[in-house]
Amino acid sequence: MNVAIINYNAGNTRSVFFALERLGIHSCITDDMKEIRSADKVILPGVGEAGSAMAYLKEKGLDILIKDLEQPVLGICLGMQLMCRYSEEGKTDCLNIFDLDVIKFTQPGKVPQIGWNTLYNMKGPLFAGIPEHSFMYFVHSYYIGISGDTISETQYATLFSSAFKKDNFYGVQFHPEKSGKSGEQIIKNFLTL
């Protein structure tokens, strides 16, 4: 299988790479259009700040390419947020795959949320074999509210989308690559979509 992890030059893209290696799958970290387009699965990893990440994607022409992808695409953490319409982080126009806004957490609840939290109302094949109320590891200061595309919900200061899906696009706010066995299962599920 051919997995492309999109490089956007602002932080650690290797966590996902390492997680795939541990599953015995070799992936490439790339910003090359051809490589991304020809991959079986594409992952938009979860690092950095929205403004600088979008600027990089635009510079490489990847903002348009990503929206056109037809294979399964998984956005993790910031990667999920970039799939939205707009982010309050850096007042950034994002990819607009999901017609949703990314909002900063306000009190109560200290930001960033770092640590374990619970998933509720999980839906669909991404969560196959994952028991209800499973814990996943989160690191984020911004969130996306609940919508028709939501496929799992989590509570921190407010109820937010811990995962969403539309067509071939999936987003998870938590880090499956940092969430032990359950997280690993989610990555495996994505790879078998």
């Binding site: 602002a10 770092i114 374990w116 690191v139 997280g183």
Partner: protein, 239 residues
């Protein structure tokens, strides 16, 4: 729930502990930090505080390959610090697999650069480190105590969204209990910041007390290596 963050301090690739930051008073706990990290992971620990003490001393990252080994062989959330001074260092650390960069001296000496990094990498990917003695900031591997008060210093970084890890030098590696008073004052003064306690944690009761005060996390070193806190005791805090 308070997050349990074990520390691995590195000198020459070994997992060590110092007493009060003194490089002369070094105990080597393991020659294989990757194995130590794996043991943590197996017990349900999710986060690791990795410190390049060689880097902190020389101002240049030295133990990057250990970071890379741990990042590739475990799924721990790793914050890495010690010797990060430039943009190149930031790239190197993230590329080696660190999830969070721990920044101490740069935030004190070059606040503009630190704010730039926050803007580029996001505040969630930063851990602000401050070492203090009697509320005064210490720099240069604790060799130098400045006249700068930690509470004044933090004003500039008190915008929501930063984690602060504060070590009381006087307590570190002494197993004499943490500075509850300092952490309580920090939590009250900076309600929007996540305060992570470090230094002096001796037993499991200390952790319960820090949680009650409102600390978001606790870094544990020597107490864990010397068995005063067992991984089994930490179970209620893990998933």
């Amino acid at each position: 729930m308070i997050e349990i963050i074990p520390a691995i301090d590195l000198i020459g690739g070994d997992c060590v502990r110092l007493v009060k930051g003194d490089y002369e008073q070094k105990t080597v706990y393991s020659k294989d930090p990757v194995e130590v990290a794996k043991v943590f992971q197996d017990t349900g620990i999710r986060r690791l505080h990795l410190v390049d003490l060689d880097g902190a001393k020389t101002g240049k990252i030295i133990n990057l390959s250990i970071l890379e080994s741990i990042a590739s062989q475990t799924s721990l959330m790793i914050d890495f610090g010690g010797g990060i001074t430039s943009d190149e260092d930031m790239n190197a650390v993230y590329n080696a697999g660190a999830d969070i960069a721990t920044i101490g001296s740069v935030a004190i000496k070059e606040p503009e650069k630190f704010l730039e990094w926050i803007a580029k990498y996001s505040s969630a990917r930063m851990l602000l480190a401050a070492d203090v003695k009697n509320d005064l900031l210490a720099i240069a591997g604790w060799q130098e105590i400045t006249s700068r008060n930690i509470f004044d210093y933090l004003q500039q970084y008190s915008q929501p969204g930063l984690q602060l890890f504060c070590t009381d030098i006087h307590k570190d590696g002494r197993l004499a209990g943490p500075s509850f008073d300092l952490y309580e004052r920090l939590v009250i003064s900076f309600p929007e910041m996540k305060i992570i306690a470090s230094g002096g944690v001796t037993d499991i009761e200390d952790i319960a007390k820090l949680e009650k005060i409102g600390c978001s996390g606790v870094i544990i070193g020597k107490a864990l290596y010397e068995g005063r806190i067992t991984l089994k005791q930490l179970k209620p805090y893990l998933h």
